[in-house]
């Protein structure tokens, strides 16, 4: 297996610089994000999009308000169906629980369907450390596993690679003859994966939603690998974040609608696999053991800290595809399992080790495109400024920033100092601009970050207020008397 050239533990600045300097990444992102965003718009416009969004949002809010009851209802029903429910407070608990299940069942090989929750808790590494072979079976996940890379998109894990590079990986790792034909590449993967499915002892998947009233775990896929993961091996384990819950079967299909349309622009996915329990006597197939691991890993704290709205997220990735920042830097620059605007909100909140996690809320121009695209209408820009506030209140800003902002605030609190600063600024900036043809080409200190790529205009020689004063000379001015 190849070692990855992608290192998520590098400092934020380096990660961003690497991403912006990667021409292939730019092409790959350009190809996919635009297409996915366009497909989502078309699919949402084909139905009453606003109504669908309202309904899903209301349902998810209901779930969050009734989380304890619904989780217990889910547990009761799964147990009644013959499955087992495990409660994992932290990442290490998931690792311990799943390794234990695997050891007890004498598992040698594990096949996995795509799951961000297991990425989040580094489950693959834990199973491998315990001596088991782990094979990702979602095509995208399979490719990045061969390349030794982490996923860079919530639903399209290999979005950072062009087909040319994917072909290289397959030629190197699977002895595929050179080709760019997706059909051929897929059939090579299918051939390799089929053998893994038939010899696996355990299947692990995430969960797109679990239905509390029936105890049913649902996974949404387009490749059928989820179905084989959940039915072929002896043991099937689902790892789900506690927010991936819906009260009723009807609600499940509501979320399914919103997810399919927002994630890939489909009316519905090719497969929807539902598992309520282990194989019953007389069943043709199905696992002998069925386990569901409920994962917290900071989600409950998120509710308490006022960022609970982000738990409405159904992981469709729509906010990534429309985010102008994500589209420039891709997922790995975020340094976290979860990237894009939703990643910038989740990562500082749940228990993830992310280098420079404090920088993520600032990786946004607050343009709001994410909120417009979100099928659950999560107010991501608002949460990003609130997270910035938290960073400042925790004292995690540079002394320079703090001093600068304090000076700015003081200056703006007095008309006299504001006007004086304006006068000085006008003199200085016009002097600078005079040296370089009317615009400022170079500024000192932190402002150099602006002029490294952009010109700046000089301040006006006579401010609006100066011109206004002249215009109003001798006339009574409202608003002046209070400070006369």
């Amino acid at each position: 297996m190849a070692t990855s050239t992608i290192d998520l533990t590098l400092p934020y600045k380096t990660r961003v610089k690497d991403a912006l300097g990667n021409k292939h990444l730019k092409i790959a992102l350009e190809r996919s994000t635009g297409r996915m965003a366009g497909q989502r718009v078309a699919a949402m416009n084909a139905v009453d999009g606003p109504r669908l969004r309202n309904q899903v949002r209301q349902m998810k809010e209901y779930v969050l308000r009734n989380l304890p009851d619904l989780l217990e209802q889910l547990e009761t029903n799964i147990t009644a169906n013959g499955g087992r429910v495990h409660w994992a407070k932290e990442a290490v608990d998931v690792q311990r629980i799943v390794v234990e299940i695997a050891r007890k069942a004498n598992v040698q090989k594990v096949v996995k369907a795509k799951s961000m929750a297991t990425e989040e808790v580094h489950l693959n590494q834990a199973l491998q450390a315990a001596g088991m072979k782990v094979v990702e079976t979602d095509l995208g996940e399979y490719i990045i596993q061969l390349a030794g890379e982490p996923p860079s998109h919530i639903v399209a894990p290999v979005i950072h690679r062009r087909v040319e590079e994917i072909s290289d990986i397959f030629q190197r790792e699977l002895d595929m003859p050179p080709t760019l034909d997706p059909q051929v590449i897929c059939s090579v993967a299918r051939g390799a994966l089929r053998k893994e499915f038939l010899s696996a002892d355990m299947g692990i998947s995430g969960c797109n939603f679990a239905i509390a009233e029936t105890g049913t775990c649902c996974i949404v896929t387009n490749e059928g690998n989820g179905r084989m993961t959940s039915t072929l091996p002896r043991v099937y384990v689902v790892v789900m974040g506690i927010e991936k819950l819906v009260p009723t079967v009807e609600d499940a299909f509501l979320q399914y609608q919103a997810l399919s349309r927002s994630a890939t622009g489909q009316q519905c996915s090719v497969y929807l696999s539902m598992t309520s329990g282990p194989r019953k006597p007389g069943d043709a197939d199905g696992p002998e053991e069925f386990h569901v691991v409920l994962l917290d890993n900071g989600r409950v704290d998120m509710l308490a800290k006022g960022y609970g709205e982000a738990l409405c997220c159904i992981r469709c990735g729509a906010c990534l595809n429309v985010c102008p920042v994500y589209r420039e830097i891709g997922g790995h620059a975020y340094g976290s399992t979860y990237s894009g605007p939703i990643g910038a909100v989740i990562s500082p909140n749940i228990h993830l080790e992310v280098t420079d996690v404090d920088k993520l809320p600032y990786a946004s121009s607050l343009c709001g495109a994410c909120r417009d695209a979100c099928p659950v209408k999560i107010d991501l820009p608002r949460m990003l400024v609130e997270l910035r506030r938290d960073v400042v209140e925790a004292g995690d800003t540079t002394v320079f920033d703090r001093a600068g902002m304090q000076a700015f605030s003081r200056m703006m609190q007095s008309r006299a100092s504001y006007e004086a600063a304006g006068g000085l600024g006008s003199l200085g900036s016009n002097l600078l601009a005079g040296l370089s043809g009317g615009v400022i080409k170079s500024l000192p200190g932190p402002l150099a970050a602006w002029t490294s790529s952009r010109d700046f205009p000089p301040l006006a020689k006579r401010s609006f207020r100066a011109q206004w004063r002249e215009r109003m000379k001798g006339r009574k001015v409202i608003g002046e008397e209070q400070n006369a």
């Binding site: 961003v16 912006l20 102008p324 920042v325 420039e328 809320p361 600032y362 990786a363 946004s364 121009s365 607050l366 343009c367 709001g368 495109a369 909120r371 417009d372 400024v385 997270l387 910035r388 400042v392 800003t397 703090r402 902002m405 304090q406 700015f408 605030s409 703006m412 609190q413 007095s414 008309r415 504001y418 304006g422 600024g425 006008s426 615009v439 080409k441 932190p446 402002l447 970050a449 602006w450 490294s452 790529s453 952009r454 010109d455 700046f456 205009p457 301040l459 006006a460 401010s463 609006f464 207020r465 011109q467 206004w468 109003m472 001015v477 409202i478 608003g479 002046e480 209070q482 400070n483």
Partner: protein, 283 residues
Amino acid sequence: MAQKKQFDTPPRRVALFVTCMVDMIYPEVGMATVELLERQGVEVVFPAEQTCCGQPAFNAGFWEEARPLARRFVDIFEPLVRNKQVDAVVAPSGSCTTMTSHFYKLLLEDDPAYRARAEFLGAATFELTEFLVDVLGVETVGAHFNGVLTYHACCHLKRELGIDRQPRTLLSHVEGAEVVEMNAADECCGFGGLFALKNSDISTAMGQRKTQNIAKSDADVVTLCDVSCMTHINGLLSRQGQRTRAVHIAQVLANQVDVAPRPQPVQETKPPTPPRRWQDGKA
């Protein structure tokens, strides 16, 4: 979204929230705004105590530093509306209007008295094109422009305030102008306040995407409703040596903008031929 103030009779007098950037860098935008309002018979007053609404500090997470500026802004403008000295507050900026009418509620959450005043003020605060089209019911302001215009939809204006139709309506009535739609007109220009400094490289990459789309539209002028985005777009266009410039919509509507003649394609001229006598290196 909060309910905007409704007017039984047309507003006669407004307070101008000129914004600090217009005041100090682009006074001509302020003057154009005044002219547009006065042309509609609306009297404009300018509360001279106003400075900055505090948005740079708020966006950067420095809420402690932003709060005194928010309270100060409320203290300056709210009594004017409450005492009916003015009917509304008008600003030539989607972003600063958003700050004062939307984000003050969040910023002043733990200060019920000021928050209530801010909400009252916010309902009577309008962005310029919103005020012209929705409140005054004006679509034609007597503007002429001899050239090609395109429109950039600023993020706060479009996504926080929901204002898009109003500026586009006003532009469509500019006499002589050809209005073209650029690709991805509502995609962020990459400014984002301190984002442009803190994430300068990403901001620049986003801006370059925008300027490429502007260049492809082949417009003479990009109009928009925020001078902050205008500064960013112009900073890039100017550095790239492009012909097109971004201008505030008020400047176009108040006939402040002239288009420089388009550069003519360079005529292919034949190089002068030397007399045959000396060709081929003959002496």
